[in-house]
Structure formats: C-alpha cells, structure tokens
Amino acid sequence: MFAYDKIIPMSRFKKDIILLSGICAVALLLWLIPFLLNRINQSAPAIVSIYQDGQKLADYPLSEDQTLVIPWEDKGYNLLLIEDGRAAVTDADCPDQLCVRQRSISRNGESIICLPHKLVLQIAGEEEGDLDAVTY
C-alpha cells in the first residue's frame, strides 16, 4: 500500500476533523430533535371528542383501537375507526360522504366534520379539554 499518511500526516488535520464532525453532530442533533418531540407529543394521552348538534357526546382515548357506530336520529350512522392512535370515519350513510374522504386525524386540534349528520370529531389532549371547559 502506498503510504499517503507519510506525505501528508493525518495528525495535521486532527483539529479540522474534530471541528467538522462537531458541526455534523450538531446538525444531526437539530435534525433529530423534531422527531423526538413528536414522539413525546404522540405519547401524551390524546382523545377524540365526539360532538353532535353542538353537544358533546363522548370522549374516547386514541390509544385504544376500536370501532364505534355513531347513530344519527335513528336514520343514519357514522362509523368511527380508532386505530394506531389515529381516528377516521370509515363508513357513513350521509349523502356527501365528505367525512369518509377526509384524512385520518391524530394531532391536537385536527377534526373531521360531517355536516349532514351535524357531527364533529375533534382531537384533544387531556389538558386541552379542561381548558376548553374553562373558556365556555
């Protein structure tokens, strides 16, 4: 092997390498922080609140996988699926089907709305729910 190290000894670049890897480490850390924060936020207990006709019917934790049928005046229904910490309406017999087409929700404040059935599903953290009660 040709000894590059003898012509330009690597020790001359020791400080350079340390500094550059330091910058890379900081960049990597800054890149990872949002992911870690998201993790923490997701592990916080989040609930999906069900409102119908402006009245709160129930809260369900996102942590439990389950399927719920939300009836609408004996005439219709919305099928709420809670899976992997996300909530989605998978089936409904409302005329426009907008609620079914909406993306599943998981983050605080996100909502799915079904206007024909006057149904609102909203994600809330536990603490956030308390604050809402205070403002009302």
Binding site: K15, D16, L19, L20, P34
Partner: protein, 183 residues
Amino acid sequence: MPSLTEKNSNGSARIQNRSYVGHTACMGLLLAFALILSYVEMLIPFQPGVPGIKLGLANLAVLLCLYLWGWKDALLLTIIKAVFSGFLFGSLFMILYSLAGAIISALVMILLKRTGGFHLPVVSAAGGAAHNMGQLLVAFFAVETYGVLYYAPVLLAAGTITGILIGMTSSLVLPYIQRILKG
C-alpha cells in the same frame, strides 16, 4: 490617522508611508471584489428549496482579507460589504439580516484562525455554518415561530459544504496573491 503626505524641501508632496497607501488600495480592491461577487452570486440561478442557502462567494474576499491582513481589516470589510451590498442589491431589512450573519461568521472565523491548528477550508466551513445560524436567529426573532428552526440542520449542512468549497478556492488563490504583494 497618520498623515499620508508631507512637504519636502521642494514643496512637492511625497508619500510618507507607501505600505499604508498600498494597504488602503488593496482593501478597496477587496471590497470591490466582494461586491462584484455578491452581484455574480445574484446572477447564478442557484435556488434550492430552502430559503437562505447560497454559495457565499463574497466570503472569498473576507477570507483573503483575514489571511492577508488580519482580523481588524477582515471585520471592517465584512461590515462594509454587508452594508454596501444591502444598499446596492437589497433592502434595509436585508442589511440587518445579512449583517447579523456576516458578523457572526467573521467572528467565528477570526476566533478559529487565532486559535490556530485549523486549516483554511475548515475555518471557512465553520464561518459558513455560523453565517446561516446567525441569519436563522434573526429570522427567528422576526417571525417568532419555532417553525423556522426546522430549517436549522439543512442550513447548517449547506453552510458547511459551501464554506468548504469557498475555503478551498481561497486557499488555492492565497499563495499567488501573497507572492504578488511581496514582489
């Protein structure tokens, strides 16, 4: 401020301190160089998705100044360059924006050079990274949203890479300029 001229016995003005004048002229040349590089940089269509990423060509002049004449001149050149290029090509807010980045970058490079042991491309890389971080801080205080910090890693990496490129260029150019100045 030393007087540049004095009257000799014939009454004609004579330059007292040649190196002082030469130095001033060279600083002027470097400033012009920096401003032209700022302009050239505007002409290059290098617009990646993230705001704030640029080549930082004008940093070449600051680096040369730092290694030719030392930190005082480099800092002076940095500030004048930022103000002038702001007035020429940008707006008042841009001056503030680029001043923050440029001064932090210059200070980091000066400190690293004084510490010793760092080679020019690496000093320049750290300067580039510091420049982007400084601008990000100004942006952060301007909009007051944490969302800006989302760009931090990208800007840090970009500043380092462009800084290394500019540093390599100036370390190649430097010996020739030093030879000219000596000769």
